[in-house]
Symmetry: C2
Subunit: 109 residues, 2 copies
Amino acid sequence: MDTSQLLKGVLDLAVLAVLRDGDGYGYDVLRRLRAAGLEDVADASVYGTLRRLFQAGALTSYVQPSEEGPHRKYYGLNKRGHELLAESAKTWNHFADTMSVLLSKKEAA
Amino acid sequence: MDTSQLLKGVLDLAVLAVLRDGDGYGYDVLRRLRAAGLEDVADASVYGTLRRLFQAGALTSYVQPSEEGPHRKYYGLNKRGHELLAESAKTWNHFADTMSVLLSKKEAA
DNA sequence: GTGTAGTACTCCGCAATGTGTAGTAGTGTT
DNA sequence: AACACTACTACACATTGCGGAGTACTACAC
C-alpha cells in the first residue's frame, strides 16, 4: 500500500518528535524516522520538511563540518518548535482517536 | 489548527467505514462523518472521494428520488470496497501505532 | 409569488505537501 | 578510475482536500 498520503501533515510532527530526542541533520533524521517504523519516507521529503519548519521559526540551524563526509546542517527545536510539537501531537491524538472509534464501530445489522 | 492535511489519504478510509454501516448518499455521508467527530470535512471532499472510490470499483451506485428534495445518489460497499476497507484499516492502524510510539518516546537526556 | 433556508450534487481552479530525478560534493573502498 | 555511502539542493509532478460558483428541488415565511 501507499503510505505517502498518510504522511501528509504528519511528517512535520514526526520530524519534530525525533528532534525532541536531540539535534540532528537531515540524513540523520531520515535514518531515525525509518528506524522508528516510517520506512517509506523519502529523503527529499525530510529535507523539505526541515526547511519548512525552519522557515516557520520552529527550528534552530547550524552547519558543522564532518570528517567522514560532506558538511552537516544540524537542526534543533527552539521554544516555538516545542510548542508546535505539543500542539500538533494533541491534534494528532484527537484525530487518531476519532478514526479509531470510526473504524471499530460495528454495523447494527 | 488545520486538520485538512491530516485527512489526506484517510478520508477514503473514513468514507468506507461509514458506508460499512449502510448505504448512503453524499450529503448523508457528510453528516455521518461530522457526527463521528470529523467536523471540518468539506462537502466537496466527500463528493470527490465517493466519485474516486466508485471509479476505483470499490462502490456500487444507484440514484433514488426523494420526496423531500433533489434526487439522491446512493453508494454502497461491494466486495472490493470491503477488501479495500480492511486493507486500509490495517495500514492505518500500523501507521497510527508507529506514530504513537514516536510521540510517546521520552528523551534520554 | 418572491425570498430564504435546507437539501443534494457538480465543476473548476487552488494550495499544501510528499515523491522522483538529477545534480553537486566529500570520503573511503576496491 | 569506478563505485558506494554520506549529505544536501532544486525542480517538476501527482495526489487530494478545499473554497466558491452554479444548478435544482422542496418548504416555509413575508
